[in-house]
């Protein structure tokens, strides 16, 4: 069974998107990067991201991630913001009752795309 299936598949991603996005928008340190974006489209992108870090079906390419975040890196997006996002991901999973070892697996995947997102 894949990690994605173990976590509950699509239904769990849907539950996670609302909690995760709400946490991110409540955090003034990172919320400004999400200002003026279409919330529904953004939720779609977060769903794709969470599906990927859960180990679910995806067609992830580092190039897309780089292109998609370049304008944010230009605005100052850096490692400290990324740490905030990882922390929100951690607490989202904890709120959903995911065990510590599984949370660590997800965080490891999310951390592996850091260099692409931050255009390093």
């Amino acid at each position: 069974m894949s990690l994605y299936e173990e976590l509950g598949g699509e239904a769990s991603v849907n539950a996670a998107v609302d909690i995760f996005y709400r946490r991110v928008l409540s955090d003034a340190y990172v919320a400004s990067f999400f200002e003026g974006v279409d919330m529904e489209k953004q939720a779609g992108k977060q769903k794709a991201f969470l599906t990927m870090v859960f180990g679910g079906p995806n067609n992830y390419t580092g190039l897309d991630m780089r292109e998609g975040h370049k304008h944010l890196v230009d605005k100052g997006l850096n490692d400290s913001h990324y740490e905030h996002i990882l922390a929100h991901l951690r607490s989202t999973l904890a709120e959903l009752g995911v065990g510590n070892d599984k949370i660590q697996e997800v965080i490891t995947i999310a951390d592996s795309v850091r260099t692409d997102i931050l255009n390093k």
């Binding site: 849907n14 996005y21 794709a48 599906t51 679910g56 995806n58 067609n59």
Partner: protein, 321 residues
Amino acid sequence: MAMITYKGESYTCEKDETVLVCLLRHKVFIPNACQSGVCQSCMMKAVQGTPPKVAQTGLKDTLVAQHHFLACICKPEEDLEVSLYDSSKDWMLAEVLEKSLLNESVVRLRLKPQHKIDYMAGQFINIKGQDGTSIRSYSLASLPTEDYLELHIKRVPGGLVSNDLHDMVAVGDSLSIMGATGDCFYTNRDQEQPLLMIGIGTGLAPLYGVIRDALAKNHTGSIHVYHGSLATPGLYYIDELRNLANEHESLSYTPCVLHGDAPEGGQQGDIQSVVRTDFPDLKGYRVYICGDPQIVDSIKKQCFMSGASMSDIYSDPFDFS
């Protein structure tokens, strides 16, 4: 093997092949990205035939109701005729049956289209201005069961279409219309869910359709309607909404005005604060928000932060120009 028809051409879909792969293989370009049913960039609409249920995984109920599906995870079990999600419809003429002022700056038009329009209450149509080039969208306040299309048109200073509709167009004239589209409408997926409807100005138009549609479809959960305006003269349909609230115990109606006295049963204050105070916790609610885009976006965010799920928020930001 199923046949896929797109833009009048038919293509053979191989066994286990998806609609997306089939079309791409035939050098028909369809926008796509994740190819795994997540990003929704390859969304298409089934014009004929039924796509397998799994091809609608994750789509909002309003999109499912309009037969949309994701081409990248659709392995057809029968012949399908498909179109792109935003495929344009045909222009047709509609006769003005009735024209009356709802308040100092909003006129109500009732139109009889040349051909019957298939629509859901709350969707919008496009209207061509008298200059033949300007196009504006207007929400439908009518129900598909009524034999006219009803629009509420606010006069926009310098507006190319709204001023024509206010000043030039008369009963008996014909207008060029096209429609209907939009996904701000009622579906009866959960008839017990409490509904919160927030309309600013002529944002009431689609909601007036959605409210009556929900009641006609026997929605049993509570329905809270808030209509906001700068001052009382900017409100309209006060009696109609009060009557609906009297007839239906589940329905409440709250007019809100920023300045001056609110009508009886209403509140004075900005509609966003009023809603925030009245609904501190929106978990489990379905929310509809229509009107000026800046207020809509801001209230949308507030409702999400107050606990409404993103998939339970329907909005229609009006672009006034």
